[in-house]
Amino acid sequence: MSTITLSHGSGGTQSNQLISDLFFRYFSNDILNQMNDAAQLEIDFKKIAFTTDSFVVNPIFFEGGNIGKLAVCGTVNDLAVSGAKPLYLTCAFIIEEGFSMVDLETIVKTMAEEAEKSGVKIVAGDTKVVEKGNVESLYINTSGIGVIYENVNINCANAKPGDVIIVNGTIGDHGMTILCERNNFGFEGNLSSDCASLNTLVDCMLEVYNGIHVIRDATRGGIAAVLNEISDSSNVTIALEENLLPIKEEVKGAAEMLGFDPLYIANEGKLCAFVPEAQAEQVLVAMRAHPLGTNAAIIGRVTEELGKKVYLNTVVGGKRLVDMPSGILLPRIC
């Protein structure tokens, strides 16, 4: 079986071969093909969005995607939820010596497909190979540039009392899938990561209403972390309704069994949007018409109360705080 060796990262013949036979084969585009030390881009806009993210997920292949798909979607989503049209990505691989060439090709191919789907070009990259044991299989970093749409002002600090909070579908899918696959629980069911590029969905939302106050993707720390950050930046109180939270039965089941709260579980294809009540319905309708928003739902609102906090109105009519997640998520023991 063909594997990655240290010489693939040494900058010599094997490095060039890997670049031309694999990366260029899949990522090929007019800018990358110029093979300059830096990609030369012409961007004719006033405001750009620029972001970076590193991906170290384990396992690297999981139901619903792989580390490569995640690396493209993650960065595309960070740009999209900033109100930007994602244009260019860079990607850097840090690969453990001995990594399977077939697996690498699968990952690169997925990245190319996902980039095409979301309309971005991968314009620069880097490959490093490190000795066995220095990284676990493969890490990927992607950075991305997008242009911010005119007349769009999406900002974490923009949430206002009266805003309605919409998510584009079920929560906790990605984190629960990874957790169950990593630990081989052998749950039967259809757990699958929601990993997806959200830029076309965001486009649909902004098309019907470009005044959306806040959009954030709810990755690590889940919905709870993102809403706490927004509450903090905007200095507002957020009330969630427990009975409105969309959660897949299989996620609910696995979370229940392992003692996790879906509000805190990571997503990779979910966003929450803060929309003034008057426009909420039209945004919701637009979202539901998009394949990544069929289960879109209103889950709560920004209240008139003073102070920064997030709480949940529970199914029995009580209230509880939804605080910032702290430390690592640990399962309960009895």
Partner: protein, 367 residues
């Protein structure tokens, strides 16, 4: 998981909440013994919907919280050995020892694995024959049978490199210690559905017979808890000191005989120290002579002396329900989930962690 939704029903809850209002007169103090109940009560905001004369007091039912400090220090020492792979439930990771925690030890390179069942240790032991695997066997009657089964399986599979550092405890004896404490003034107990699934309802009968205190076994969904409270308050107001079972879908009067057999087979009942509470007669489980080859303390020839030793922490009063966490001087100041001083702040079932996460100083959610 459809069956869960029924027990989270808004409509059922509303009816029960209404019924509570009509049932209760005068001050009623109810202790929920189990940490899983404490968390569920906070998670669903159940205190908010109870009549003002009903007070819920959180009890000592969190296995991590009642494990003495000396146990965690010894576990940390064991994890430092080159030849040891330590396996533990996640909750133990952050519990502070005198010098370190398992989480810090892991970061420093100790081989510590998070497992979801002691049975996971069988595969670890088989995969690493040159290592000695130590499982931190903490927990009540809910987890003790699995420790016994794992030891039996290890023997069957000829695994001689798996050991257990046991701190299993049993629940009814500590309840006896609580009801004989005059300061507490308890009117009734909400009894743990998970423990009762193993031991049944009979071991609680002494509460009514000897102490005139009724109890209700119930589950962990909001409707279970509200139903349990409704039954309990009704027993209290009728001065009916019996033990009721509102968790019949899981709990049988005589419990799970197979699980009890496994416990009997592997363990002796011994006196045991509860953190903050002290020695409670016949409240712990220790491997019996037939199983002592699995006892990590014996195998590693560790002379183990128990001590508590968390400075300034009021866990004792909190675990006994005499104080609520907000009355502890360390709460939210020196002691937080990021930097816990007492184990009640660490464990996902701990009373302090519940208060920290869900409650404001006033004891009620800020409006």
């Amino acid at each position: 998981m459809k069956f869960v939704d029924e027990f989270r029903s808004n409509e059922h809850s509303r009816i029960l909440i209404e019924s509570l209002k009509n049932l209760s007169r005068g001050q009623i103090n109810i202790m929920e013994v189990c940490g899983t109940h404490t968390m569920a009560i906070f998670r669903y905001g159940i205190r908010d919907v109870l009549p003002a004369n009903v007070t819920l007091i959180s009890g000592p039912g969190c296995p991590v919280c009642v494990t003495p400090q000396s146990y965690i220090d010894t576990a940390i020492d064991l994890s430092s050995r080159e030849d040891v792979i330590m396996a533990t439930f996640g909750d133990m990771m952050k519990v502070p020892g005198i010098k370190s925690s398992l989480l810090k030890k892991k970061a420093e390179g100790a081989d510590i694995r998070l497992v979801y069942s002691p049975m996971d240790c069988l595969a670890i032991a088989a995969d690493s024959p040159s290592k000695q695997i130590v499982f931190l066997a903490v927990g009540f009657e809910t987890t003790a049978p699995m420790t016994a089964v794992t030891a039996i399986e290890a023997r069957k599979n000829g695994l001689s490199n798996l050991f257990f550092f046991t701190a299993h405890k049993i629940v009814p004896p500590v309840m006896e210690a609580l009801v004989t404490d005059k300061e507490l003034n308890l009117d009734g107990f909400l009894l743990p559905g998970n423990v009762s699934a193993i031991i049944g309802t009979e071991p609680y009968e002494f509460l009514g017979k000897d102490f005139n205190i009724p109890g209700v076994v119930t589950g962990f969904e909001p409707v279970d808890i509200l139903q349990g409270l409704s039954t309990l308050i009704s027993l209290i107001s009728k001065k009916d000191y019996s033990i009721a079972n509102d968790y019949k879908r899981i709990v049988r009067t005589s419990g799970n005989s197979e699980a009890k057999e496994y416990m009997d087979k592997a363990f002796n009942i011994v006196d045991s120290n509860w953190r903050g509470i002290g020695k409670v007669s016949k409240s712990g489980l220790e491997f019996n002579r037939d199983f002592e080859e699995f006892d990590a303390l014996k195998h590693f020839e560790i002379s183990y002396k128990e001590y508590d030793g968390s400075s300034g922490c009021r866990c004792g009063e909190i675990l006994k329900g005499k104080m609520n966490p907000t009355q502890c001087p360390l709460f939210k100041q020196a002691c937080t989930p990021e930097n816990p001083i007492g184990s009640c702040m660490v464990s996902s079932e701990g009373t302090c962690a519940a208060y920290f996460r869900y409650y404001k100083e006033s004891g009620k959610m800020e409006e």
